[in-house]
Amino acid sequence: MKDPVDVLIIGAGASGAAVAWSLAETKMHILCLEQGGWMNPAEYPSTGRDWEAKFYGEWSSSPNVRGRPEDYPINDDNSPIKVVNYNAVGGSTVMYTAHWPRLHPSDFKVKTLDGVADDWPIDYDALTPFFEENDRMMGTSGLSGDPLSPLTHPPMPQQPMGLSGAIIGKAMNERGWHWWPSDTTVATMDYEGRARCINLGHCTPACAQGAKSSTDITYWPHAVRAGVELRTHCRVREITTDENGMASGVVYYDKDGVEQFQPAHVVIIACNGVGTPRLLLNSASGRFPNGLANSSGLVGKNLMFHPYAQIYGFVKEPTDSNRAPPTCLWSKEWYDTDLSRGFVRGYGVQFVRGAGPVFEAVVSEQKGILPWGEDHHRVFRKLNGHRLGFSAICEDLPEEHNQVTLDPVLKDSHGIPAPKIDYTISENSRKMMEHALARGREFLETAGATDICVNSPIPWGGWHLLGTARMGTDPSRSVVNEWGRSHDVKNLFIVDGSIFVTSGGVNPTSTIQALALYIADQMKQRLANLFD
């Protein structure tokens, strides 16, 4: 049998990397098991002429389409929003837009302010130092001083405005609406061993330049140098428990597919809002028949995605097309509750600079605005390089019927039951999406756009996997406590997006990592009585 480790972390993505790095200073024996491997930037799409075609296959954001050995299938047939993720060292930070807003202070007090959902058991101020630490570690760029966003101090200047940014800014000014350069994790200057952005285009499917921050090139090199062991191509099947109901280790399949048992004194789950409930439910036992850490019955419940309402059009002026990071500006104009709009809560907006020629041709043909035949060439030249987009990230409120369960049939390549998603968009979200589309249309018309098209929701837009093991002080209404420890299993922690109580209206990765650092800090402060 293997020697026990002090801390076993499952998942090497956004939160797993942050917690590993933070705990490394304790000099405990820390092991991270990751089902994927280290990425090779030389193989990233932007290194080849066929870079766009790869998005439809091996570099699809959907694990079901991608089907790499490192991926697990997800039954999301019963959801209008499909799950997207990436499985590797770095997790979904390998494949994300690098848009870097954080939750607002008001997002932690939703019940108090708006009478819906629940307040978080912690507030924004508790996370402030960890947001700052995380921004320094991930290396952020942006412009401090946004009047409608929490104050940030990005260590690098904002991205260039580009052609698209100027068009967006002018149109938003004409409307009198808020806009601001986005905080992003795109390095705009050389930073901590990362080369500055050279505008390879779409950042989402990994950055060959290394300018986009992903935890395989930020946290992990530091964590490994500090002594953390990272074991790749190891897929955890279940967490085991001992006679006292404490986590005793994990059963996993190693890179050769051989079943292994790794004992551990502390287990930390960092598998995202779908992978984490899947693992807990797959860890059911005689003592925990409904899944591990699930006495509340809330493991897998309250899944929140952020329905994206996207509207785009085509302006006369050239836009940045694929020659820039896709996101550069945001708006918080409609972030806060205004009941006159007919819904509670709100949405952030991320503007889209443009698209590459293959994407433009394929999508415009599907939308019916790019014809077949003789007129194809004329219309394509009108569309290509002229796209401008407005994407609203709508706050999804927690609803128990939106959930992750285990599929009774579907299994991954190791025979482990796969997750099944049941999700519907709420009436509140629908009203919010309609509001966003109306504002987006006004914005586009002000910019002079024509051929306006809508994706609402963006079908393959399930990037943000939140809420399925929520934190709280009441064990009957939450899965983990206010510092990430399971109410039921006192040496089991969760640090990923599944512990979100509400979702806010922004991309969550910055907040996920700040939470992971906060929980690691709490663990370090409580080492002497961690299990009390």
């Binding site: 932007s46 066929d50 075609a53 405005m161 100027a166 390879l200 394929v362 035949g373 194809h376």
Partner: protein, 149 residues
């Protein structure tokens, strides 16, 4: 993950015909059609994981046409193409996407669009920094972040 599916000569013939209907050649823009030999060879060589759906789409097309697509009268061919486009589902969408993704990476086509014939990395692109005084109205309007207390 490429699948071992090879298109039959008939399927290849129909693929060429439908590709030309999607993107015909243009003298005005000095570009080939998607039935061009080089583009067709690229499609065939890189079908990979799309081969199964593309073959299914071509089988569907063959059923609609009842004969080689190119043998139909133009009006009938157009009618078949319309039915295929409307009711072809995922296989038809995949076929069209495969045609377009190969067409819009062809050197002659990219040159006609004024695009450089290269991968984005390592040269990248240059973006204008822009006029950040555009933010002045936003700063002047300010606004207040909603507090939690």
């Amino acid at each position: 993950m490429s699948e071992q599916i090879t298109l039959t000569p008939r399927q290849r013939q129909d693929l060429r015909t439908i590709a030309a209907m999607i993107v015909p050649p243009s003298e005005e823009y000095r570009v080939p059609g998607a039935d061009d030999d080089i583009i067709q060879a690229d499609i065939i060589a890189t079908l990979g994981r799309d081969a199964r759906l593309v073959a299914a789409a071509l089988d569907h097309l063959a059923r609609l046409a009842g004969m080689p697509l190119s043998d139909l009268e133009p009006a009938a061919r157009e009618n078949v193409a319309q039915q295929f486009r409307i009711a072809g589902g995922a296989p038809a969408a995949t076929l069209v996407r495969v045609v377009l993704q190969c067409y819009y990476r062809d050197d002659r086509v990219l040159r006609s669009l004024g695009l450089e014939l290269r991968a984005p990395f390592p040269k990248g692109y240059v973006l204008p920094d822009g006029d950040w005084s555009l933010l002045d109205p936003v700063k002047a309007r300010a606004g207040t972040l909603r507090r939690a207390t």
